[in-house]
Symmetry: C2
C-alpha cells in the first residue's frame, strides 16, 4: 500500500514535470508567433532570423518531452485513464511544435515581402488576424495551466471569428493582386502567412480540446469543422 501510494505520487510528480515542459513550450511558441508577425509588419529581418532560429529549441523540447513520456509510461505503468492524460500531453506538445513551424514559415517569408514592401492596409489585416490567434494561444495556455474549461466554448467561437477574418483577408488579397500585378508576389506570400495564422488558430483550438479532455475525461463533440472557408472563393474579375 505504501508502495502503491508512493507510485501514485511519483506519477503525479511526472505529470507536473510534463505540465511544466508544456508551459515552457507554450511560452516559446507564443513568442515565436508574436515575433514572426512583428517582423512581417515592421520588415524586421533580424527579428525574422531570430524567430527562424528559435524553432530548433521548440523541436528539441518536443523530442525531450516525447522521450520523457516513454520513460514515464515504462516506469510507472499508468492505468488507461492516466495514459489518456499522458497522451493528451504529447498531443499538445505536437500542436505547439506545429505552431512554431508555422511561425518560422511566416518569418521566412519576411525577406521576400520586405523586398517589395507592402501596403499599410494589408499589414493591418495580417496584424489583426495575428492578434486574434495570439489571444487564442494565451487563452488555451492559461486554460492548460489552470486546468479550467470554463472558457472552452468561447475559444471555439473565437476560432470561427479567425476563420471569418481569414476568409475576408483572402478576398482582399486576391482583389489587390487583380488591381495591380505588381502586388502579386507580395500578396501571394501574405496569403500563405494569413493561412499560417489561420492554422495557428486551429492548433490553439486543438489544444483547448485536449485540455477539455484532460480535465473532464470526455471528448468535445466534433461539431465544428476547422477547415477554412476560402476554397470556394472565386473573385469576379472585369473580363477586360
Amino acid at each position: 500500500m505504501v508502495q502503491s501510494s508512493h507510485t501514485v505520487t511519483a506519477f503525479e510528480e511526472d505529470m507536473k514535470f510534463l505540465a511544466h515542459k508544456i508551459a515552457e513550450m507554450g511560452g516559446l511558441a507564443e513568442r515565436m508567433v508574436e515575433n514572426a508577425i512583428r517582423a512581417l509588419i515592421k520588415s524586421d529581418l533580424q527579428l525574422a532570423q531570430k524567430t527562424i532560429a528559435d524553432d530548433a529549441q521548440l523541436d528539441e523540447a518536443q523530442a525531450l518531452l516525447d522521450e520523457k513520456v516513454v520513460l514515464i509510461i515504462a516506469q510507472r505503468q499508468p492505468m488507461a485513464s492516466d495514459l489518456r492524460e499522458v497522451f493528451s500531453t504529447i498531443r499538445i506538445a505536437a500542436d505547439l511544435e506545429r505552431v512554431g513551424d508555422l511561425a518560422k514559415n511566416i518569418a521566412k517569408r519576411v525577406v521576400a515581402i520586405s523586398e517589395r514592401g507592402h501596403s499599410v492596409n494589408l499589414a493591418r489585416g495580417i496584424e489583426h488576424l495575428g492578434d486574434l490567434a495570439l489571444a487564442q494561444m494565451k487563452e488555451v495556455l492559461d486554460a492548460f495551466g489552470s486546468r479550467s474549461v470554463t472558457r472552452i466554448n468561447m475559444i471555439r467561437d473565437r476560432d470561427d471569428e479567425i476563420d471569418a477574418m481569414y476568409t475576408s483577408l483572402f478576398r482582399e488579397l486576391l482583389t489587390y493582386m487583380m488591381e495591380d500585378p505588381r502586388n502579386i508576389t507580395t500578396c501571394t506570400h501574405l496569403l500563405f502567412c494569413a493561412k499560417n495564422i489561420e492554422r495557428i488558430g486551429d492548433h490553439a483550438t486543438n489544444i483547448a480540446e485536449s485540455v477539455y479532455y484532460i480535465v473532464t475525461g470526455k471528448h468535445l463533440a466534433a461539431d465544428r469543422p476547422k477547415e477554412d472557408k476560402t476554397h470556394r472563393i472565386v473573385i469576379g474579375e472585369a473580363d477586360g
Copy 2:
C-alpha cells in the same frame, strides 16, 4: 516463464493488429490523394465530393487506433523499446490522417477551380507533382509493410525532387497570374493545391523516418530541412 512468453505473443499480436490498421489507413490515404488530384485535373466534382466524404473514415480509423494503443499499453505494459515502436505507429497514423486532410483540401478547391477552368499546362504540372507524391506514398507504405529500410535514402532524395518541382510550379503560377489577372483566382487555388501536395511528400518522408526508427531503433540524422524553398521567391514584374 510461460506467462511471460504468453505476454510477448499477445503484444506481438497487438502489433500485428496495429500494422494492419496502418496498412488500411495508408491505402485509404493513398486513394484519397489519387482521387483528389484526378478530380482536380478532370474537374470531376463528383469524385471531389467522394474524396471529401472519405476523410471521415480516415479520422475514425485514427481515433480507433489511438484508443487501441492506450489499451495495448495499459494491458501489456511494454518495455521502453517496445513502447517506442508503439509510439512510431501513432506517429504514422497521425501523418496519414494529415495526408487525408490535405487531399480533402485539394478536393474542396475543385469547385472554385473548375468554375474558371485551367490551362492544360498548369494541370500537367500539378499532375506531375501529384505523381511524385503518390509514388512516395506507395514507397513508404511498402517500406512499412515489408519492414525494409533499403530505399529510405532514395525516398528522402525524391522528397528533394518534389520540393524542387513545387518551387518551379510556384514560379510558373505567379508568372501566369502576372500575365493575365483573370488567372489569379484559379492560380491561387492551384498554389494551395501544389503546397498541399508538397506537404503530402513531407508526411511521406516523416513516415519513412518512422519506419527507419521501427526497424533500426535509431533516428535518421535530421540533415534535410523539409521546409519548402518558395518563401524567398520574388518574381520580377515589368514595372508597367
